[in-house]
């Protein structure tokens, strides 16, 4: 079942490539159909999901792959992966809906996105380090071709920078994985086995180096300060749906890796370095917010708020590494908040990037100053943008509020230093209000005059993301019930 979900999109992509002369219409609708089927399967999986025992997985599958190096095809689901798998399917479905009106080579585009969807789903399902790495690299390759092939502006250069930078990160990750393999007894790449054997328990120095390699690899992908420089150009020049996938799904791979690999497999090293990770998180929060405030380009601004939002997650996972006798409750809240933030950021930022894409599609510009008073010619657009902006700044009622509240509630108790990140929320609020004001209110001027309102497909894809964010904001229980048991497993593992 899980394998089917993972590989269905790539099989469809292969069909699109191999079968000659598929009409563009068929490619577009076929893409949408496949993403819907995949989403339906995942929803079915969620309904049938029962929280597994600690150290076990639901929907587990394992096949021999490379027995001589202790690596196998091992996939499974738990409370950390299920929300992200579903998020992946949701974002890709939204992209398929958004792209229904695409005219620029829709067939290869659909194939590429389906391929990328498989890579992302595979990554979140992988329970073997090498398998994880395989999907990690494939997602980079897929995204490179999306930016280079369908981007605008200086797309080739941005794509190259993205590829080189994240590839460097992936190789640092590979180094760390090899270190884990050699540090474990018996040698294995299996995450479940590794979590049981706790490598580097008596070798803090080696463990520290391995964690450093893995941390750099994941931090580049997340991205945290100071590894974020690839992100703004990649987002600015990527097509709208590429940006949505990049921010909504690919960035989560980094933070998911912290929870899935770095914390449970290297608990000693993680605890020793937790204060450092907390500081990185706080710096990312403040730096991302401040730089976003200085942007006049809508897409760059959203890209920098991603650095800010991902910073909260890094802060939370760092704070969860600060262990004391009475901290288990706070740690669990912080990790749950980090997970909710991943889902929430995926939905809201995905919607914001699609909205920015609409600007570019109509007017070939992201410049805040050239627009103004959009509310009059495009009321629907204005409403969607305002809702997305409020969701992103963490207004109660939206998923972002639940996430950030939990993150701070869980972090400040154990690490009072986390208070320093609070101004980040304030700055983001300010910049989103300012951007909405410039873009939407006032007299209609500049590029805004004659701006066409959202079409059905655009409204449908952006709207569904925002509705989900509200659903999580108002009824978070269904999500928290899945995440909380997994979060307490991580707390137990990191506290060893």
């Amino acid at each position: 079942m899980l394998s089917l979900i993972v590989f269905l999109p790539v099989l469809a992509a292969a069909m699109l490539v191999v079968v000659p002369r598929v009409p563009d219409r068929v490619a577009r609708w076929g893409w949408l159909a496949i993403t819907l089927v995949d989403l339906a399967l995942l929803v079915g999986m969620w309904i049938g999901y029962r929280n597994p025992q600690p150290g076990e997985l639901a929907y587990e599958e394992q096949l021999q792959w490379m027995p001589s190096v202790g690596s196998s095809y091992h996939i499974g689901v738990d409370g950390l992966s299920l929300p992200l798998l579903t998020l992946t399917a949701v974002i890709f479905t939204a992209c398929a809906v958004y792209a229904l009106r695409e005219t620029d080579r829709p067939r290869p585009q659909a194939a590429l996105f389906l391929f990328l969807q498989s890579a992302c789903l595979g990554l979140f399902a992988a329970q073997d380090l090498i398998l994880f790495f395989v999907f990690f690299d494939l997602s980079i390759v897929g995204m490179y071709f999306i930016i280079a092939g369908w981007g605008h502006g200086n797309a080739a250069r941005s794509a190259l920078k993205f590829f080189l930078y994240t590839f460097l990160g992936s190789l640092a990750l590979l180094l760390g994985f090899i270190g884990l393999y050699l540090g474990a007894d018996p040698h294995t790449f299996d995450m479940v086995e590794l979590a049981k054997s706790v490598p580097f328990q008596n070798a803090p120095l080696a463990g520290g180096f391995v964690l450093a390699a893995i941390f750099i690899g994941l931090a580049i992908k997340t991205p945290t300060f100071p590894f974020h420089t690839w992100l703004p150009p990649a987002h600015t020049d990527a097509p709208a749906i590429g940006s949505a996938v990049l921010a909504g799904v690919l960035l989560k791979m980094g933070t998911y890796g912290f929870l899935r690999i770095a914390m449970p497999l290297l608990p000693d090293a993680w605890r020793s370095w937790a204060w450092f990770i907390v500081v990185i998180g706080i710096v990312s929060v403040l730096y991302g917010a401040l730089v976003a405030l200085a942007q006049t380009d809508v897409k760059r601004m959203i890209a920098y708020t991603s650095v800010n939002h991902m910073g909260y997650i890094v802060l939370a996972v760092g704070a969860a590494g600060v262990v004391s006798d009475s901290s288990a409750q706070a740690q669990q809240v912080a990790i749950t908040g980090a997970m909710v933030q991943m889902v929430s950021h995926g939905l809201i930022t995905g919607a914001l990037f699609l909205l920015a894409g609409v600007l570019y599609e109509r007017r070939q510009s992201y410049d805040l100053n050239s627009f103004g008073g959009l509310a009059a010619p495009a009321p629907r657009y204005a409403a969607f943008f305002a809702v997305a902006a409020f969701a992103s700044l963490g207004l109660p009622g939206f998923s972002g509020f639940i996430a950030e509240f939990q993150i701070f509630a869980g972090s400040i108790g154990t690490v009072p230093l986390s208070l320093l990140a609070l101004p980040g929320i304030l700055i983001t609020a300010a910049l989103f209000l300012r951007a909405s004001q410039r873009l939407l209110t006032g007299k209609t001027r500049g590029l805004s005059s004659g701006f066409g309102d959202l079409k059905t497909s655009e409204a449908l894809s952006i709207g569904s993301l925002l509705v989900l964010s509200v659903v999580i904001g108002v009824f978070p229980r269904f999500l928290l019930d899945v995440i909380e048991p997994a979060a307490s497993v991580v707390v137990d593992l990191v506290g060893r």
């Binding site: 190096v69 790495f133 395989v134 590839f167 590979l174 050699l182």
Partner: protein, 463 residues
């Protein structure tokens, strides 16, 4: 086992009748030798312990024979009808035989024989092309080959002098008590010769020139097949050298130099064949990682063999694409090629990203197992150097790949080499294109079945 060599020799002496016939005879001979090599046998040595039959030489024979057959197929259009067709096939077969001998040699004299048997046909193959640079390239190859051949003979003399014999068994016994300085001189000398064959630093100068100037099939051959023989030979030799000298450090430095130099030189190349030539120099660097930890970890030999197989498939696929598009010579010529030749562009993407080591291609598994082996063997610094080089190499491969998907096609200006064709931009050679696709498929399939290959290649070498 012997059948492999006999079949190959028969194949190479038959030519001279009719040109087309020789091609099929050559391919048949090669495939026969694959079948012969495929018959499983326990590890042992033959011919008075001068030639080993084990996983190392067995794999080498299969890879070399398949690679040579692949080269012949990808060169069908390029070579057919030329005056030297049958000579080319004969020389290819002889050089392939030499590489096989190298891979199985467990006696210094056999090693020298293998060296000469690969080198001499190579000089002729490089010089046979009528392109302007061919004479220079052949001369360079010959001079470097002769020089390093002499250092190799010197090394052989010294090693046999201090140990009282030339067989590896004898060397293994006697070198432990031999003066370290003499062993160093001997090992350095022999390695020098092998590095010429492998195309690694310091014997790499001929590679880019020869790759650019020789015919495409020949270029594909000489950047692939000799390396297989030479690297397995180096592994086999170092496996028995005692720890009294720090040879892992020596090999590690050579490896680091090869990958770094190859990558830096490839950075700004505009000719695709020259770029591939330099890239093979850097690939030798990665391939030497397991050689540097020979015998120190169980993973070293399987990872070397897997990487060699993967490298052969991937590199040949890239050359097949180059051969299939004869009118495109520079990176700029490939602009927009994905439009006119989507399948070939796909094959090139697979092969070049494969050379970088992107999963799920076979080189990825090869690379990560060699890195693991090198780390396990204690050369962590070399692993870090290899990783940094891998990232750097991505840059020039992307310089080639990125323009292909550009929306404005190029207008190749340079005329195609042998046949004057008017509509050169769309010229595509069918056999070469077919082999490129087969190659790309095998790169992916080998990557998936890599685990099985690693298990088979796990048995130790025969001494």
């Amino acid at each position: 086992m012997g059948g492999a060599i006999v079949a190959l020799l028969a194949g190479s002496f038959l030519p001279r009748n009719r040109q087309v016939v020789t091609r099929w005879i050559a391919i048949l001979a090669l495939l026969t030798s694959v079948v012969a090599a495929g018959m499983a046998q326990p590890p042992m040595t033959v011919f008075e312990a001068s030639f080993s039959v084990d996983a190392g030489s067995g794999f080498a024979r299969i890879i070399i024979a398949l690679a040579t057959a692949f080269v012949i197929v990808l060169g069908i259009e390029e070579l057919s009808g030329t005056r030297r067709e049958s000579e080319t096939y004969a020389l290819l077969l002889l050089a392939a035989l030499g590489a096989m001998v190298l891979s199985g040699a467990s006696d210094l004299l056999i090693l020298v024989t293998g060296y000469l048997l690969t080198s001499i046909p190579l000089y002729a193959l490089v010089g046979m092309s009528r392109s302007p640079g061919a004479a220079e390239a052949a001369l360079k190859t010959y001079l470097l080959g002769a020089l390093l051949g002499i250092t190799m003979l010197l090394g052989v003399t010294v090693l046999s002098g201090v140990s009282g014999g030339t067989s590896y068994r004898q060397l293994g016994f006697a070198l432990g008590g031999a003066p370290a300085a003499a062993v160093v001189v001997g090992v350095v000398g022999v390695l020098g010769g092998l590095m010429f064959k492998a195309g690694g630093v310091p014997g790499h100068f001929w590679i880019p020139d020869a790759t650019q100037a020789a015919g495409k099939a020949v270029a594909a051959f000489l950047t692939t097949v000799p390396k297989i023989g030479a690297l397995i030979a180096a592994y086999r030799l170092l496996d028995i050298i005692p720890g009294s000298i720090d040879w892992p450090l020596l090999v590690g430095i050579l490896a680091a130099a090869s990958m770094t130099l190859g990558n830096l030189a490839a950075f700004w190349q505009d000719d695709v064949r020259r770029l591939l030539g330099w890239s093979t120099v850097s690939q030798v660097g990665y391939l030497m990682l397991p050689v540097a930890v020979a015998g120190r970890t169980d993973l070293a030999l399987p990872s070397l063999l897997l990487y060699l197989a993967g490298y052969a498939a991937t590199n040949l696929t890239a050359f097949a694409v180059v051969a299939a598009l004869p009118s495109r010579r520079t990176l700029a010529d490939y602009r927009g090629a994905a439009r006119s030749h989507p399948w070939l562009a796909g094959a090139l993407v697979v092969s070049l990203l494969g050379l970088v080591g992107t999963p799920p291609t076979v080189v990825f598994v090869g690379k990560f197992t060699t890195l693991t082996a090198a780390w396990d063997g204690g050369l962590v610094w070399l692993v870090v150097v290899a990783v940094i080089n891998t990232v750097a190499s991505l840059f020039y491969y992307l310089r080639w790949l990125a323009p292909m998907f550009s929306r404005t096609p190029a207008h190749p200006h340079s005329p195609p080499d042998p046949a004057p064709v008017a509509h050169s931009a769309t010229v595509r050679r069918r056999w070469a294109a077919g082999s490129a696709l087969v190659g790309a498929a095998s790169v992916l399939i080998l990557g998936i079945v890599a685990g099985a290959i690693l298990s088979i290649a796990g048995s130790p070498l025969a001494h």
